[in-house]
């Protein structure tokens, strides 16, 4: 009993070595003789193992989670820089082109009022001629393509009338 009370147990540094590895020779020697420290070490290692397991398990995520995270991280890092630069370049190009076209473009010449009136009149005449032609075509008894045949028939009828009424 007195031996147990007076026993010098492991130091904090020795516990640290033992928790993650085999420990030094002195620690191992102590463990070979001290059941209390063996029990405590088993409890400590078990607790740490459970903690590690829980930490790793809780960080387990579906592949979609990692993909989303990766896409977002990459977009935030690279996307935000690339897009504005491109946008600025495009905007600058558009503004430059617009300015150049404004400088080079001459003011548009308005057509003279008389010229406009003449154009309108010519258009009206052309329309009237077209309508008249259509009217003639409609009123014609025989289509234009059969006009020679119509003349022949007319002549034959004329001859027949002359024979009947000499």
């Amino acid at each position: 009993m007195n031996e147990e009370v007076n026993r010098v147990h492991l130091s904090d540094e020795q516990w640290l070595d033992l928790a993650g590895a085999a420990g030094d020779a002195a620690s191992r020697q102590h463990l070979a003789e001290c059941a209390a420290c063996v029990g405590e070490l088993a409890g400590l290692r078990g607790a740490i193992e459970q903690y590690q397991l829980a930490a790793r398990k809780s960080a387990d995520q579906p592949e979609s989670f990692w993909l989303r995270q990766r896409t977002s991280a990459v977009s935030r890092a690279l996307g935000r820089r690339a897009v504005p630069r491109l946008a600025w370049m495009t905007a600058a190009a558009v503004v430059t082109l617009a300015a150049l076209s404004l400088v080079r473009q001459e003011p548009p010449t308005k057509p003279a009022p008389t010229a406009t009136a003449q154009t309108q009149q010519a258009q009206a005449e052309s329309d009237s001629a077209l309508l008249a032609d259509v009217q003639r075509q409609v009123q014609r008894e025989v289509p234009e393509a059969l006009q020679p045949a119509a003349l022949l028939v007319e002549e034959m009828n004329q001859h027949a009338d002359e024979r009947r009424n000499p």
Binding site: D12, E40, L44, I48, Q50, Q52, A73
Partner: protein, 200 residues
């Protein structure tokens, strides 16, 4: 294989500071490190949404600050460094928000305690839900009482299984300081495990 990929990414990232980086290359870096960064952040902030937001922020900061990356550490170490700084900032912001709310004039008869209650409880995270068992409760209870540096060192050592040197490089502190943080964290966990053991 792993180290070759890390070296390639390190070289590419360094070169990129001057020449720019292709979308595919940056995406490959994100793909390679996103799970680890997210896991570390989740272990530090205990909230899935916050961890996701901070993970994205981590990659954004890495990209924007790639000119500062000198290649002394790997891209992975550098990203984890950014992540733990983000988690620390987040913790500070939460604490300052707590005090602001606590001392703000109560609105519509609402008392300060009710306002403080609105601070998100990390206990509702999936990690917390998994900690139903006694041993997990012990580590959880201990982790709650740790300082940011102690908790960070603990997560990097016992969740990520990083060596003391890697942790030292990531946290930008001496190996002795890492040992000190870890020893204190582990002592707290041991106390909690013992306590739980007594109640069983």
């Amino acid at each position: 294989m792993e180290s070759t990929l890390a070296q390639r990414q390190t070289l590419r990232f360094r070169a990129d500071a001057a020449t720019g980086i292709a979308r595919e290359e940056f995406e490959e870096i994100v793909r390679h490190h996103q799970r680890r960064v997210f896991r570390i952040l989740l272990s530090l902030v205990w909230n899935t949404d916050t961890a996701e937001t901070l993970t994205q922020e981590c990659f954004l900061r890495a990209y924007r600050g790639r000119a500062d990356f000198r290649g002394e550490a790997s891209v992975g170490t550098w990203l984890v460094r950014i992540a733990i700084n983000l988690a620390a900032d987040h913790g500070r912001n939460r604490r300052s928000a707590f005090w602001r709310r606590l001392f703000a004039r109560p609105r519509d008869g609402e008392d300060a305690v009710a306002q403080a209650d609105r601070i998100p409880d990390p206990g509702v995270s999936p990690l917390r839900q998994l900690m139903a068992r006694e041993k997990l409760e012990a580590v959880w209870a201990a982790a709650k009482g740790l300082s940011v540096n102690q908790r960070t060192a603990f997560v990097l050592r016992f969740v990520e299984e990083m060596s003391l040197e890697e942790i030292s490089q990531t946290m930008e502190v001496k190996t002795g300081t890492v040992k000190s943080h870890l020893a204190r964290a582990l002592a707290a966990v041991r106390r909690q495990v013992k306590e739980k053991g007594r109640h069983e």
